[in-house]
Symmetry: C2
Subunit: 85 residues, 2 copies
Amino acid sequence: MEILKVSSKSLPNSVAGAIAGIIREEGCVEVQAVGAGATNQAVKSVAVARNYLEEDCEIVCVPYFANVEIDGESRTAIRLVVKKQ
Amino acid sequence: MEILKVSSKSLPNSVAGAIAGIIREEGCVEVQAVGAGATNQAVKSVAVARNYLEEDCEIVCVPYFANVEIDGESRTAIRLVVKKQ
């Protein structure tokens, strides 16, 4: 599954456009965020993507914790599996 | 639908326990967060609740924006509809 990495500086409208495009093509996508600011942008992006897709399909998300390595350090990321309902 | 209000100081394990309890009783619950820190705790709470419920059911969440009034000021909240898949 494709993984979109979101930071605290990501623009929700842009990420939402990417989510909507991948959902239309593939039916599901993962969004990864590390830290509170990034997680906030990720959730807002899914909320916006829901609006972008409202005429096509309903989407839901499933959050889970994932261990990722960033610059040689182990961090806990939040991943959101976004998929058609 | 019952609404759980989450702040940046909420403990994900405690909120997750509340989510799991309401999901078992009612099948769905809303989680409301205002601000990045609160939204982060809300998403972590859903991820933990998923683990608490894994032997019973799979849960998904649907994020949306809601206008709420806090201390007389209008704020944009993130609400997560959490429901059985």
